[in-house]
Symmetry: C2
Subunit: 198 residues, 2 copies
């Protein structure tokens, strides 16, 4: 193979979900089968890199000062859902189950990996909470060690005098999944998260 082809394949292989074969297939597709798509893809990549930035309020992807969710008057601003990364937000949006706003931390506290509070998108969260209009802070962070530490840190450092209730999303069996197939940590969470029935 030619070296420019190998370079392209190497770049594609670094993308999540692509391995040796799939990156080769995409490179051949762009160079041999549909060469007209290559400049279109380059243009889309460059346009996205140029225009997409962080929402100054919540940290989500935005093309203006605010992201479409923060700019949407119909979203409930008394409800903030705290997530680790943008894909988490996208997953919750896709469920259609949430009408509040978000706050993306872009990470979680991890002393082992040298991630402290200053590395997270926290300053604008405190500013939002200090306005006093937030009623509930939903922590949609994972229940691993770093997620627990981040939840703990957030509840300990809430602005004084605020009326914010802090909640955590539920952990348990995935919908449609039976007890038989669940791992023991999930079963433990499911038992701990049991609720009164009728």
């Amino acid at each position: 193979m030619t070296s420019a082809f190998e370079q392209l394949q190497k770049q594609l292989k670094q993308l999540p979900g692509l391995g040796y074969r799939s990156s080769e297939r995409i490179a051949l597709h762009l160079l041999v089968e549909k060469p007209a798509r290559l400049p279109e893809l380059v243009a889309a990549l460059e346009a996205a890199a140029r225009t997409v930035r962080r929402c100054s309020r919540c940290g989500h992807l935005a093309e203006a000062e605010l992201c479409p969710i923060c700019a949407d008057e119909k979203r409930d601003r008394t409800l903030i859902c705290v997530v680790e990364h943008v894909p988490d937000l996208v997953a919750i949006e896709r469920s259609g189950a949430y009408k509040g706003v978000y706050h993306v931390l872009h990470g979680k506290l991890s002393p082992l990996h040298g991630v402290g509070p200053a590395d997270l998108n926290l300053a604008s969260l405190w500013t939002r909470l200090e306005t006093g209009e937030v009623r509930e802070l939903i922590l949609a962070l994972p229940n691993d060690v770093e997620g627990e530490a981040t939840c703990h840190y957030l509840t300990e450092h809430l602005p004084a005098g605020g009326q914010v209730t802090t909640t955590r999303i539920g952990f348990g069996l995935p919908s449609g999944g039976g007890v038989l197939y669940a791992d023991s940590v999930t079963l433990k969470s499911a038992l701990e998260g049991r609720r009164g029935y009728q």
Copy 2:
């Protein structure tokens, strides 16, 4: 989501093997997680688009007049393996089982889809055969209707007076696959392609 993001996702989704979720994941990866990779990917795409072209002899990808295989003195030039597309060539190269050279037709005859002999990379194949140095033409084309028609056309139109033997790659059970799991067309090919044992 922002519109530049959606445009990028749409472009990625058109690539082979990528669906809605995987293209979203890659777009978020390039914009949020590893933004430094985006310009590298753009550069690799542009470099490949600029430098990669067709080998003037065999039709494979090349960065010079000839592809690395045609330019390689150690390959057996008396043996030409005819394939439909570049990925077929790549798959045969990966097997390491072939030391001859190739000829990529960039398609197969298909009157139904309006693909005639003039649409295939045939002119340079006739030139190669007319030199008289080719001993064997291995047809590595699929055994569907179009593949059969293309094989038939090639054998019918070989340059007169040449000493070229035409062969077809074997069809049958995939290595490691048992009779139990093979579809009936494959079993038919395997029976037709039986050979003397010992």
